[in-house]
């Protein structure tokens, strides 16, 4: 393989990567949202990051393993906003009490509601094909 060949292959890869990235950033993730983030949701997201909640919790199965996945905690059967609020306000034997004030608690619950509206995790009724792909079925953002 001559150096010029290698440069051409490398350059071609980079060009395709640039197009692919732009496509993922736009069309590939141009997902309709059931709601837009308001002021409280943004404040909740900021708190979620400041307290590094993702070290213990997951969203869509991504994050830490010490606590449960929070994607649909505010809509799951037997749970809901008040259930989430209780944990946020008091902590547990595994989760510290961060001493949030009422505004902060409300912001975090709003943020979790925003996450919940973006989709469903784990996916309901996934259909597996013989060649290994999965049709994930209806999700909150597509219903």
């Amino acid at each position: 393989m001559t150096p010029s060949y290698k440069r051409v292959i490398f350059g071609s890869f980079c060009a395709v990567f640039a197009v692919y990235s732009a496509y993922v950033w736009t069309a590939g993730t141009d997902i309709p949202q059931n709601r837009s983030p308001g002021h409280q949701v943004k404040a909740g997201l900021a708190l979620f990051q400041e307290k590094n909640c993702i070290a213990c919790h997951q969203l869509y199965g991504l994050g830490g393993h010490m606590g449960p996945d929070l994607t649909n905690v505010v809509s799951a059967e037997g749970k809901g906003p008040d259930y989430a609020r209780t944990f946020i306000e008091n902590g547990t034997s595994k989760m510290p009490n961060f001493n949030f004030n009422e505004t902060q608690v409300a912001a975090l619950v709003q943020f979790l509601g925003f996450v919940d509206s973006s989709g469903t995790y784990p996916p309901k009724n996934p259909e597996i094909t013989w060649y290994g792909t999965v049709a994930y079925g209806a999700s909150k953002n597509t219903e």
Partner: protein, 468 residues
Amino acid sequence: MEQSPTEPARTPNDVGLWFMLLGLLALAASLLFGVLGAFKFLYPEFLEELAFNKLRPLHVSLAVSWIFLTAIGGIYYYLPNFSNLSSFSNRIARWHFWIYLVTGLTILGAYALGKFGGREYWEFPPILALPIFLTWIMFGVNYFTIAVKRRTAWPLYYWMWGTGIVFFFLTFTESYLWLIPYFRENMLREIAVQWKSYGSLVGSWNMLVYGTALYLMEKISDDEGVARSKMAFGLYFLGLFNLMFGWAHHTYPVPFAAWVRDFAYVVSMTELFLLGKIMWDWRVSLSTRQKFQHRRPYRFLFASDMWVFINLILALVISVPALNLFTHGTHVIVAHTMGTTIGINTMILLASVFYVLEQRVGQDVEIRHAQPISIGFWLANGSLLIFLAALVAAGLIKGTYESDSFQDMMETIEPYLLVFAVAGVGLMVGFWLLILSAISHMRGLVFSLQSDDCPSSKQLGRLSLFDN
């Protein structure tokens, strides 16, 4: 004029050793925080003042630092042996070191004070990304200034190191796109871009590490063909293809466009070729082992080969969407991450450290530390096997657990996590033995405290990071 590949440069270019020494310290600390985190996971009342949301970033950031520092240190150390030093800026390299050190300490301080940015891998406040950007610009300037001076065709490891630097910079930038409202305010786009950048980011540091492995293989075997063959370049482009497009297996269940995951599935399956290649080369690899097993760095490289094989199988399992259904969000993913970070990257980087020591202090490492190194090597590798098996078992139970109760599931997997934590102690002790042996020599080289047993160090004279 290029220097002999085997002869250390006769000017103070040992800033690479500073990076390596700091990297070893980062690894030692990362292992400690990892073990504390594992026990904290099981017994939350343990060390109440150090919450898990602090322990995890301390462990992760120090582990990532170990990889970067030691890979960068190796490149800073090896490159001047090949190139005209007049184009190599020690001043920039030293600034690179000090900015990295001060930024790193600031990040650790931020974690200790509970100041987070809350992003996986980059848990520090985003403002601290700026000096990190700066250090990569400095490293890139230094690297490419040297590399372009080389008149003959680049060996593959030059390509890999250059690719690692460029793509780290690009993907690190991409990982901060969330600061722009267009990305942040769409939950799914935010997740997609975050994990797209992380997938490529890991690929970019793997380029730095695997480039180092290739460099070492060439030097140990004294065979330049290793880093110049068509097959080697073919595998490099396959790796680059996966670096760019093979990220979405991290996010299969996230409900964005289906073509993103279908494409990633196809891309990931190209790694089957790598698996086949490894199995095809197995016999050659074994005969090479017999030839070079007396060389300490080679033993680390051979160990990394074994872990490549195991982790590639895990990676392929994770990449099949039908199997990913049962592994996503479980400890199987942790096993894959730990397996690649410890089994592959750490073994290669330790090979690099011991290769440098072998070059600089000869057989003194073996004479003084043969036993702790051997015990450390086997303890670390044996513990890692148990460690990964426990994680995979816990992950599979979690992934197939019927009940919705998180508490019940955690109680079921607790025995496996206890095995994981105890194996973690073995891993830490094993690596500490290796680290202590390496540091005892590295420290002497860096601070020029070696006596007659280190002639090259004496020839080089005292290294001062404050000199131009």
